[in-house]
């Protein structure tokens, strides 16, 4: 069975060939059918360009892109069986919600009654049955997003692309939408590919993810793999703000002379702990406390559960970690 999306050493360069801006640089990527796949990375890392390469709004300067085994590198967007939920939703302001949702069917020439029936079905799917006659301008941000979702799903795409789908929503709505997207994806069985710069979003929604940095994929894996076993310093730092330890410090903790990472929540206060330093900051996080100490010129943060006896800022503290928590990275 072919993969839903496959990148074969795909590059997308902008600007002159002499000094190109390498937005995407030699990316190999396979997204399995039915996956909920996240492209995670800071802005300018190439994740959005990758999404646009799948939708067809960018074409690769090198390499090829296959959707369900078919090379689509030279296929225009309107002939690809993928649909996008845009970051700004891009709802048509001059059409009501029903016409927006039915748009994809309208341009295919489906009759009015039939396409409206299908549109209502899609609106019911996103719990907006009663909103068909409204204009997008009369909806809240969360509702607009659902309309955008219904509009993208009406064509029954093989792959649904979501560009920062939750970026414009407030925290509470964002969490509700995360659950809803997840359950929608499981019910429909469509491959979802979404772009985000928010590691929590990527970790909690995706069943596999790619971390982008400088136009390249730094790591691909399940959220658990990427979180617990970051391959590079960048991944360790970007996904879950790990403590990244230089080779010397790793060695002093009994590891090899390589970079390593320690998750803040795997550390705890211990009078006999191997990491000793001055407490530089204390922060209350609601669910716990974040304590930072400085040791050998390196800041180490620990997340401590509520109710822990906290050290004073400026005092000496010792931290220790569970065996196996120290993750050695490949980078020397």
């Amino acid at each position: 069975m072919p993969a839903a999306v496959e990148f074969r050493s795909v590059s997308r360069h902008f600007g002159p060939a002499s000094a190109p801006v390498k937005a995407v640089d030699g990316v190999d990527l396979t997204i399995a059918e039915g996956a909920f796949f996240a492209m995670l990375g800071p802005s300018g890392s190439g994740k959005t360009t990758c999404l646009r390469l799948i939708s067809g709004f960018e074409s690769p300067t090198a390499g090829e892109i296959c959707i369900f085994g078919e090379n689509v590198s030279n296929t225009p967007p309107h002939l690809r069986n993928v649909n996008t939920v845009f970051q700004d939703y891009a709802l048509f302001p001059h059409m009501n919600v029903r016409d927006n949702v039915a748009y994809g069917l309208m341009v295919k020439g489906m009759g009015r009654a039939q396409r409206y029936a299908k549109a209502e079905e899609m609106l019911a799917l996103v719990h907006l049955d009663a909103y068909g006659s409204r204009k997008p301008g009369q909806l809240s941000g969360g509702q607009r997003q659902r309309v955008a979702l219904a509009r993208a799903l009406v064509n029954e795409p093989k792959v649904l692309l979501l560009d920062e789908p939750l970026g414009a929503l407030d925290l509470k709505l964002r969490e509700a939408m995360q659950d809803e997207l997840k359950s929608l994806q499981q019910r429909l069985g469509i491959t979802f590919v979404f772009v985000t710069h928010d590691q929590h979003e990527a970790l909690s929604m995706a069943d596999s993810l790619a971390v982008f940095n400088d136009g390249k994929i730094a790591q691909i894996g399940t959220p658990a793999q990427v979180y617990a076993q970051p391959k590079t310093r960048f991944v360790a730092d970007f996904v879950g703000s790990s403590n990244v330890l230089p080779p010397a410090l790793t060695q002093s903790l009994g590891g090899p002379a390589k970079w390593s990472s320690l998750r803040p929540e795997s550390l705890h206060l211990d009078p006999a702990g191997p990491l000793q330093g001055t407490v530089t900051s204390l922060r209350y996080l609601g669910s716990g406390h974040r304590v930072a100490i400085t040791t050998q010129g390196q800041d180490i943060a620990a997340i401590l559960p509520s109710g822990t006896q906290l050290p004073e800022p400026g005092s000496e503290a010792r931290l220790s970690f569970a065996p196996g928590a120290l993750h050695i990275m490949d980078e020397a």
């Binding site: 309107h78 891009a90 341009v107």
Partner: protein, 310 residues
């Protein structure tokens, strides 16, 4: 602890007053321009409207200041009705011609022109506006004349037959371009084109790229995107531009005098009636026609949903 600074000078007291009553400041600022708009703009329009309900005494030539619809009745006389119809058709043709010419230019300027090219675009649109209107119209008369450069170019390229075919068209043809309705149409379109391009470009610029991408993403071809997304979203700009081209053509009295077959237009009729003929009521009645037509046009446009995207 130091006290809050006490209000000392008159200026301090004034700013405090404005701060406490922001509407007072607004009223002070907006009143003079509102007076200008209300008295000078709308007031003169009202005076015009009033004049059109007066009539002229046919023997003495004096204006009778009594309310009557007789003057409006005169508009329906064949020679006056012809003037109205002629002006209306010309205005409609000029507007349609301008829309067709302006759209690609405005679209290019809004979507593709960047940096220096944008400046070139604005300059190119505005430059003709900076020179005298009369100079441009006379220049066009020379261009379109039988001895003009257009005829010469047609002869040189052996495309005379095209020009002759155009001039042979019944109704709109004529002896030469400069004495035909075709020539008048060309000059009107040339002169008013910037007023169509600019609002159109502003409207197109407000259409986010993602909306065009969304349309494509959902399976629309370029033609479908154009018809169902771009045109409806640009429509407010097209309407705004057409208000300019339409009403400017309806009111113009110089171009029909210089180019064309000297057939009367509304503007010329107004000019002659209030000047030489001294028939101010009929001139006013003529002047009301473009206003009424514009109001009808706008209400039709509104009903058709032209402003839904605003």
């Amino acid at each position: 602890m130091t006290a809050i600074l006490p209000a000392k000078s008159a200026a301090d007291r004034l700013t405090t007053l404005f701060w406490r009553k922001p509407k007072l400041l607004l009223a002070l600022l907006i009143t003079p321009p509102l007076l200008w708009l209300g008295v000078i703009y709308l007031g003169s329009l009202a005076a015009l409207l009033l004049q059109s309900f007066y009539s002229i005494d046919e023997f003495s030539g004096m204006v009778v200041r009594e309310f009557t619809l007789k003057t409006y009745g005169e508009l329906l006389r064949p020679q006056n009705y012809d003037i109205i119809l002629r002006t209306l058709l010309m205005s409609a043709a000029v507007t349609i011609g301008s829309v067709i010419l302006a759209f690609p230019i405005a679209y290019y300027a809004a979507r593709y022109a960047r940096g220096r090219w944008k400046a070139v675009f604005y300059l190119g649109i505005m430059l003709p506006l900076w020179s005298s209107y009369l100079v441009k119209v006379y220049a066009w008369k020379l261009i379109l004349a039988k001895e003009g450069i257009l005829t010469w170019a047609a002869t040189q390229t052996h495309t005379n037959f095209l020009l002759d075919a155009a001039l042979a068209l019944p109704g709109i043809g004529g002896n030469s371009l400069s004495t035909s309705y075709i020539g008048m149409f060309l000059v009107f379109t040339y002169v008013w084109l910037p007023y169509m391009i600019l609002p159109m470009q502003a409207a197109l610029e407000r259409v986010p790229t993602s909306m065009l991408e969304a349309s494509q993403d959902l399976g629309a071809t370029r033609a479908q995107t154009f018809r169902t997304v771009i045109v409806p979203l640009a429509l407010p700009g097209i309407i705004a531009g057409s208000i300019f081209t339409f009403s400017l053509t309806m009111g113009d009295y110089i171009i029909p005098q210089i180019v064309g077959n000297s057939a009367n237009f509304i503007g010329m009729a107004v000019y002659q009636l209030q000047g030489t003929a001294g028939n101010t009521p009929l001139a006013a009645a003529f002047a009301v026609i473009p206003i009424v037509i514009m109001l009808i046009y706008l209400s039709l446009a509104k009903r058709a949903g032209a402003f839904d995207a605003l």
